[in-house]
Symmetry: C2
Subunit: 224 residues, 2 copies
Amino acid sequence: MDRVEFRRRIMAANDAAAAALRPRFASSGTLVVDVVSSPGAGKTSLLEATARRAPDSLRLGAVVGDIATELDADRLRAAGMPAHQIVTGGACHLDARFVTDALDATDLLPLDVLFIENVGNLVCPASYDLGEDFKVALLSVAEGDDKPFKYPAIFARASVTLITKIDLLGAAPFDLGKAIQQIETLNPEARIIPTSIATGAGMETWWELLESELEAKRPAHATS
Amino acid sequence: MDRVEFRRRIMAANDAAAAALRPRFASSGTLVVDVVSSPGAGKTSLLEATARRAPDSLRLGAVVGDIATELDADRLRAAGMPAHQIVTGGACHLDARFVTDALDATDLLPLDVLFIENVGNLVCPASYDLGEDFKVALLSVAEGDDKPFKYPAIFARASVTLITKIDLLGAAPFDLGKAIQQIETLNPEARIIPTSIATGAGMETWWELLESELEAKRPAHATS
């Protein structure tokens, strides 16, 4: 078996596990969001801010992937979001079986929104279906405005890209228009939101997007 | 063949290719440095600054890995460093066979220093021996001071860690002492240099380190 065939089998096994997750999420009415970025682009900070913005009536939860440490799940729990840390050992991304095992080991579901905070890696997580409704990519201003074309897979696949840390515009060289143009070239349908946790910029737009996705997800009987 | 066995075979094939690179580098007297970081931590900027600092008599060159685009090799050539771009397609790291193919396809060698600029990824490149003399890890202040413990493999393995963009200290929350302590815990022998391309901080220390590694590499006949 060569490398291509081995990879095909890995992806097929992942797709099967993701396909088994979808009815599980559907039956609990859960909106599932896979959050992907480089290390330090602000995934955990985004989820902390989202937990603080959400009304108490909305059930949010997270599974969080990291190579090592429980730091991120600790931060989310402190912000009021139930969270389960997946310590991947060496794995550079989450796959659908990691998510399945995490859900089996916990009583996180049912939830209104499940966030899957992926391992900090702009490459490997792009290929893996986790049964999510959509992927969100984060690109930090500090990373530079040339990154979408250099790491095209995730920006082509993510329905939403948040350009984070825009409070650093000026301190770090970054042409916002150039980055947006690259993302739009890769994915003409993408929603692109410039944000800053430090100033709150864009956070209300992010929140409204989540609310509208939740609304679209509501079962028909709830609106009839 | 299961996943563990497949990974063992991949690593064995890589180690064999790396072992074949070492005599090639030794016969040309080339110091080889594998540069690893997250996307946007400043690998290309570091090499640009190094090219500008080096005397004309020193032969520097680079092979540069990216998922897509030739942007980084273009930047290095513009800074006066011969560079060959390896477009990995989807691969999330360079392996020793990519480097071998790049050297076979070019006349880069002989060089005094060959930089291998890895794909922007703090996870996968840590495992791969590229026949280098040492690995340099870059950690940007914008990524946050908790990253060494979250991505321990590369900081344990890199002989040198540059903490980059220290001009952003103050603009981005980052405890320099905390980051240094984590790196030292993972690797008590590590050389740690806080740097900024914007202000030039630490660049002379980086340059002196390179010079001293070059001196240590000189063949015995040159000093006898």
